[in-house]
């Protein structure tokens, strides 16, 4: 406003000075003076100044429609024929006869009076959503096409771990979803449930970036395929303390499993009478337990801990992970103590046989196992018909704060965990799980104990990950950047990022693995091709636009938009030219000359 005032003051002053100069000039002119010309000149000066002012600050133009029809991708081609409000077409819509605009913001600049937009098509993408904020949006979403409506890509997994791939299908109740591993083999397949949700499971190998594929088949032909990027990365190896009240096969195989996995394992097996087997004895106190990431206790060593339990639980509150397992039927005291920890055990005491989840078909099981061990023949790594004698506590673990972690074939919880302070503790109710490793169910044994350990282990700093699904040609935001961050494209070229408060925008141009590199960090992320997952993208746009519709109904309170400046500037030019001509012309002086 101040600029307007200053400009107005300058113009006013200029008009006054010009008028003063005209009057002086008129008096000095003598016989050439013409009153008509003076009056004309004096009148034209303020007109000229006013026009210049209006040209610089054009007034808000009122009038015209405050409704704009916007065609986004998927809009019917012939909607332009229905008259009414002006129609603009965003990129992606092939509307005929509409005004093409590069984005919604441009369209709104061209139609400044717009208060309401009516959206045709599937909705606004991330590019146009900010521009539409503050407008009332009328949007009747079209039905989605059949296909993959949502795909949840797995977060980074550890080497060898099983990971879930979830998603939702639109329509297609009879379709089949298959997960294809990087070698091109079907490693899992499922049918969607009544809501269209499905969950598949794949297995990772060594650290690196792997591309699984999700294949949607309806009947025989493949309907849709999408890349499921899986980032396999190493994390810090946990330090594990295994305590057992007696030596036994269960602790032996747990120790073997943990040692082979590369953990720093300390085993304490009590042989009775104060004799400890395993590793050199450690004392159970806060300082010692701080050196460990997880403690694995059986019921007998729990009972033998006695008063040191409070030190253990204090360590759990500070982040230590604790896994409790029974070595047999629980005695009443231990059961009561574990109940006091929040694990409610409902059911009778004693053991019950454990029904294992059904192993996958041999062809699928083969894709989930790695190559055979040098000292174990390949056919031993696949589950055979021999059922291991694994039992479980007859009681079912539960509790208000507990989270079920593992389930048996009857879908009853086999293990649960709960938080205690910053740490977590879990209760595994299986007994003699070592029998799994002896009967070809080694991968199931590993899956159980890996899940237990992963659920409770002391938190550790993990490398950053860039989550979500990104498409080529769409802006994405990268955060936690440093000054030297750059993105390496699939073709090997690098793009510098200009971070503002740690975040920067990045427009991936091509699909494939990109790597966000900084000085000592490399974070891979996958960019889907622009044509991949069309239904998921449409659903995202539709949902985002539908959320927009709600707050746009309030009265829009935007600033006045300036109208067009060019008519005023043109008028100013004409007025100035007239002024110049009047000043220079001999029009008013002519009569005196002719009389002479």
């Amino acid at each position: 406003m101040t600029i307007r005032l200053i400009v107005a003051a300058i113009l006013g002053l200029a008009v006054l000075i010009a008028a003063l100069r005209l009057l002086l000039w008129h008096r000095a002119a003598g016989e050439y003076a013409s009153l008509t010309r003076l009056i004309l000149l004096l009148l034209l000066q303020p007109v000229c100044a006013l026009l210049l002012f209006l040209g610089l600050f054009p007034p808000t133009v009122s009038g015209g429609s405050d409704m704009l029809r916007v065609a986004s991708a998927g809009a019917p081609r012939l909607a332009a024929t229905q008259g009414g409000a002006p129609l603009v077409a965003l990129p992606g819509s092939d509307m005929v006869g509409a005004e093409a605009v590069p984005d919604l913001a441009t369209a709104l600049r061209r139609h400044p009076a717009t208060r309401t937009i009516e959206l045709l098509g599937q909705g606004l993408g991330p590019r146009d959503l900010p521009a539409a904020a503050g407008l009332a949006v009328r949007f009747t979403p079209p039905p989605l096409r059949n296909g993959i409506r949502y795909l949840a890509t797995p977060s980074p997994v550890s080497p060898g771990a099983a990971f879930p791939v979830g998603g939702t299908l639109e329509g297609l109740a009879e379709a089949k979803v298959e997960l294809i591993d990087p070698a091109g083999r079907v490693t899992d397949s499922a049918k969607p449930d009544a809501q269209g949700h499905f969950t598949l499971s794949g297995t990772a190998r060594a650290a690196g970036a792997a591309e699984f594929r999700l294949r949607l088949r309806n009947g025989d032909p493949t309907m849709e395929q999408a890349v499921v990027p899986v980032i396999v990365q190493d994390s810090a190896r946990p330090r594990l303390l295994i305590m057992a009240g007696a030596p036994g096969p269960e602790v032996k195989y747990l120790r073997r499993w943990a040692t082979d996995a590369g953990f720093a394992v300390t085993t304490q097996m009590s042989a009775g009478g104060g004799v400890q087997l395993g590793d050199p004895p450690v004392s159970i106190d806060g300082a010692t337990l701080r050196r460990f990431d997880a403690v694995l206790l059986d019921d007998r060593s729990w009972a033998a801990l006695g008063s040191r339990r409070s030190a253990l639980l204090a360590a759990v509150r500070e982040g230590l992970g604790l896994i409790l397992r029974p070595s047999g039927p629980l005695d009443a005291a231990t059961r009561a103590q574990w109940q006091a920890l929040g694990f409610v055990l409902t059911g009778q005491a004693g053991l019950a046989p454990l029904a294992l989840p059904k192993p996958p078909a041999a062809a699928i099981a083969r894709t989930r196992a790695g190559i055979a061990d040098p000292d174990m023949p390949g056919d031993l790594t696949l589950p055979d018909t021999l059922l291991p004698e694994v039992s479980r506590l007859a009681a079912i673990p539960a509790g208000a704060d507990t989270v079920p972690l593992l389930r048996d074939a009857g879908d009853r919880p086999l293990a649960v965990w709960r938080a205690l302070g910053v740490g977590r503790m879990a209760l595994f109710t299986g007994v003699d799980s070592y029998a799994l490793t002896l009967t070809g169910h080694r991968l199931l044994h590993d899956q159980w104990w890996r899940a237990l350990l992963g659920a409770v282990v002391r938190p550790a700093a993990a490398p950053p990950a860039i989550e979500g699904v990104h498409w080529a040609g769409e802006r994405m935001t990268l955060c936690r950047l440093t000054d030297d961050s750059r993105v390496e494209r699939p073709d090997g070229g690098a793009a510098r990022l200009i971070p503002i408060s740690g975040c920067a925008a990045f427009w991936p141009a091509s699909a494939g693995w990109h790597v966000l590199r900084s000085k000592d960090d490399a974070t891979p992320f996958y960019v889907q091709p622009a044509t991949a997952l069309p239904v998921m993208r449409a659903a995202r746009d539709r949902d985002a636009t539908l959320m927009l519709r709600g707050d746009g109904s309030a009265d829009p309170k935007g600033e006045d938009r300036p109208g067009a400046a060019w008519p005023f500037l043109l008028g100013w030019l004409v007025a100035s030219a007239l002024l110049w001509w009047l000043e220079r012309s001999r029009l008013a002086r002519q009569p005196t000359r002719s009389t002479r």
Binding site: A183, A207, T259, A261, D279, G370, G421, V422, L443, V515
Partner: protein, 705 residues
């Protein structure tokens, strides 16, 4: 002569001529058809074609011959014999319907008829058609015979698909053929493969015929692992051959390193599968009443063929109780059915093998396939034929629970008799004291034995239940049932109430003797009584007086042994409860903490994982050429662990040939995915919350802030 007789006489030569003529025409057609059929589908098809064709030819010939009927005869007679005055039809007219004039004319021409023979009416041979057909048949037979068979004669070269760029002066493979001659025993025909990749039975002979343009100097087949195979010049072509022992990868190297590297080819050896034996007869069969023979049925399938003869191993278990004799023999049997799916059903006559009631016959088929050399031998499942003993029909439903308990005791009693008789013989050489003491020793043995029997009967016994004689192995620890607890105290007297056993004894069942019928119990009691008498005499130094009692006891026991088998309940051992107060009360010198070291198993797929990362596009990707030497070395070392080591080696070679080929890198990466271990154990570490999250978690736990 009647009309019919005239007709048959005059028509016969024509009919015969036409019949033979038709068959003669059909003959070359049949021969040609047989030749084609025999070439395309084998001699059986040819024989079938000939049989059906002959039948059809005879039918057609008969039909054609049947056209020579009365009408034909009258018209041809009228045409060729003017002396019959167009009246030949009268010859076949019925006499009563003729007018006198007609009868007169009929008699005239009948007289003239025989002036000529009927042979003149026979149609001529169709010589032209015969000639044409015969020539065509000869041509067809020759063509069928001489048409080149696949895998025989000089091969037809197919244009090469190496895809290497042409360079002036550098030889290049222009045409190729790979002939595969499977081993004779497979019965497969030799075939020509236009491609240099093939799958062939193991042991097949491979013959390459290659042509180069321009002509090569010293081309060879470079095996990816192993010695190169030099090509031999044969006219314009180059040939080489080798026997297929194992799958291999190779490339045709026309210019020994000059020029571009040609692509790899793969030859897979398909191993001969061992025969599969399936028993059709159930695993356990019982002999039915009146059955005199048994025919177990096996089917054997193989990929190329099962030897026509097999061996049947027959194991006979004859006898009852402990008196079971085993005999084993093998007989040769022959199967029936096609070579790939033979059926063996040997009838086994019981009398021939001496198989009788109470015995088991176990048969097992030992079969070979027709691989040569070294046929593969496979043993099939064992089938059991059981002839239930007439004495113990109840054993049918109680497999494995029958336990003969008495032989051990029986032999002990016999041992006592033997000892006593030996002592009597030595009486003259022994002093009285020594004689008495040895007699008393035998009496002690007799007492122990009596104790065992009376214990078995639920009565009292007076000594340790340990067998004194060489048959102690008849009943020992770990023989499948419980032996009771600590040594038992002397009983309260002979004939004590039976519940004494329940208190101190060692029941195999609720009451072992209760499983005996009353008769057997009575006999056993008599035996025990006789033993008691025998023991008394032995203790008093009168083994000669003891002997009659001992013999009686032996006879009773023998009766019992022959009469019955008893059943023992299968129950688990009932261990006494652990007494916690006795724990850790022993000596503990030298017991201390012990460190048990454990060496982790190292992961061994390092090169594969490193190459997999390098070939991808993640953080560790190498976009230029990747050093594949460690990977190749690793793949060679661990070939037996890999699902398809040959494919991996081929993929490595493809990337090495053209490091910039994105598809080759992708396929090698896919192969590497199947060649990596799946590391166990490592969980994804959960991320810690921030300071506010930690405060929240502590606050809801009630801990310190």
């Amino acid at each position: 002569m009647s009309g019919d007789a005239i007709l048959s006489r005059w028509v016969a030569p024509a009919r015969q001529r036409r019949f033979i003529d038709t068959l003669t025409l059909a003959l070359p057609v049949l021969i040609a058809a047989a030749a084609i059929g025999g070439r395309l589908a084998g001699p059986w098809a040819a024989a079938m074609l000939v049989a059906f064709g002959l039948a059809a030819a005879v039918l057609i010939a008969r039909r054609r011959a049947a056209r020579f009927d009365r009408n034909w005869l009258t018209s041809s007679l009228d045409r060729t014999r003017p002396d019959l005055e167009d009246s030949s039809a009268l010859l076949f007219a019925e006499a009563p319907s003729l007018s006198p004039l007609q009868s007169l004319q009929r008699a005239r021409i009948a007289e003239r008829l025989d002036r000529e023979t009927p042979d003149k009416l026979a149609p001529g041979w169709s010589r032209n058609a015969m000639l044409v057909l015969a020539l065509a048949a000869i041509a067809i037979v020759a063509a069928a015979w001489l048409w080149p068979r696949a895998g025989e004669g000089p091969p037809t070269l197919a244009p090469s698909q190496e895809g290497t760029p042409a360079r002036p002066g550098v030889p290049r493979l222009s045409a190729q053929n790979l002939r595969i001659i499977p081993p004779a025993y497979t019965g497969l025909p030799a075939r020509d493969s236009a491609s240099l990749d093939a799958r062939a039975p193991q042991g097949a002979r491979l013959e390459w015929t290659l042509r180069f343009d321009p002509q090569a100097d010293a081309p060879h087949l470079a095996m990816l692992s192993g010695k190169p195979l030099a090509l031999r010049r044969d006219g314009a072509n180059w040939i080489a051959s080798r026997t297929l022992d194992a799958s291999f990868l190779y490339r045709v190297d026309p210019a020994t390193g000059r020029g571009p590297t040609p692509p790899l080819h793969r030859v897979d050896a398909v191993a001969d599968a061992p025969p599969q034996v399936k028993a059709i007869t159930p695993g356990l069969t019982l002999v039915k009443a009146g059955q005199r023979s048994w025919t177990p049925v096996f089917t054997v399938t193989d990929d190329y063929g099962v030897a026509a003869t097999a061996r049947l191993r027959i194991t006979l278990a004859i006898g009852e109780g402990e008196n079971v004799t085993f005999s084993e023999r093998e007989i040769a049997i022959s199967g029936s059915g096609p070579a790939r799916d033979r059926r063996f059903a040997p009838p086994l006559d019981f009398s021939r093998f001496g198989f009788s009631a109470g015995g088991d016959m176990v048969v097992q088929l030992i079969v070979r396939d027709n691989r040569s050399p070294s046929p593969q031998e496979v043993r099939g499942p064992s089938l059991i034929l059981r002839w239930p003993s007439a004495k113990a029909p109840e054993s049918g439903g109680l497999e494995g629970m029958v336990n003969t308990t008495l032989p051990a005791y029986f032999r002990s009693q016999r041992q006592i008799i033997i000892d006593a008789e030996a002592l009597i013989k030595q009486k003259s050489r022994l002093s009285a004291d020594r004689y008495l003491s040895r007699s008393a020793t035998i009496g002690g043995d007799q007492r122990i034995l009596r104790g065992r029997y009376s214990q078995f009967l639920g009565g009292e016994e007076e000594g340790e239940p340990e067998l004194p004689t060489a048959d102690a192995d008849g009943h020992h620890d770990g023989d499948g049932h419980d032996h009771g607890g600590p040594p038992q105290q002397p009983g309260v007297g002979f004939g004590a109430p039976e519940d004494v056993l329940a208190k101190f004894g060692h029941p195999h069942d609720d009451s072992p003797a209760s499983s005996l019928d009353p008769e057997t119990r009575a006999i056993l009691k008599q035996a025990v009584d006789e033993m008691w008498q025998s023991e008394r005499e032995l203790r008093q130094g009168h083994p000669d007086k003891a002997l009659p009692f001992a013999y009686k006891a032996l006879r009773f026991i023998k009766e019992v042994q022959q009469a019955t088998r008893i059943f023992l309940a299968r129950v688990g051992p009932e261990l006494p409860p652990i007494d916690p107060t006795r724990r850790m009360t022993g000596k503990r010198e030298g017991l201390a903490n012990r460190t048990l070291d454990l060496t982790p198993v190292e992961r061994q797929d390092g090169p594969a994982a490193a190459a997999w990362r390098a070939l991808g596009s993640g953080p560790d990707a190498i976009r230029g050429p990747v050093n594949l030497a460690p990977l190749e070395q690793w793949a060679r070392t661990h070939a037996d662990r890999l699902p398809d080591a040959l494919a991996l080696t081929g993929a490595i070679d493809a990337v090495r040939r053209d490091p910039a080929c994105a598809a080759c890198r992708a396929s090698l990466r896919a192969q590497l995915w199947t060649a990596m271990e799946r590391p166990l154990g490592q969980p994804a570490r959960r991320r810690g919350g921030d300071a506010a999250g930690a405060r929240y978690l502590r606050a809801i736990e009630g801990g310190r802030q």
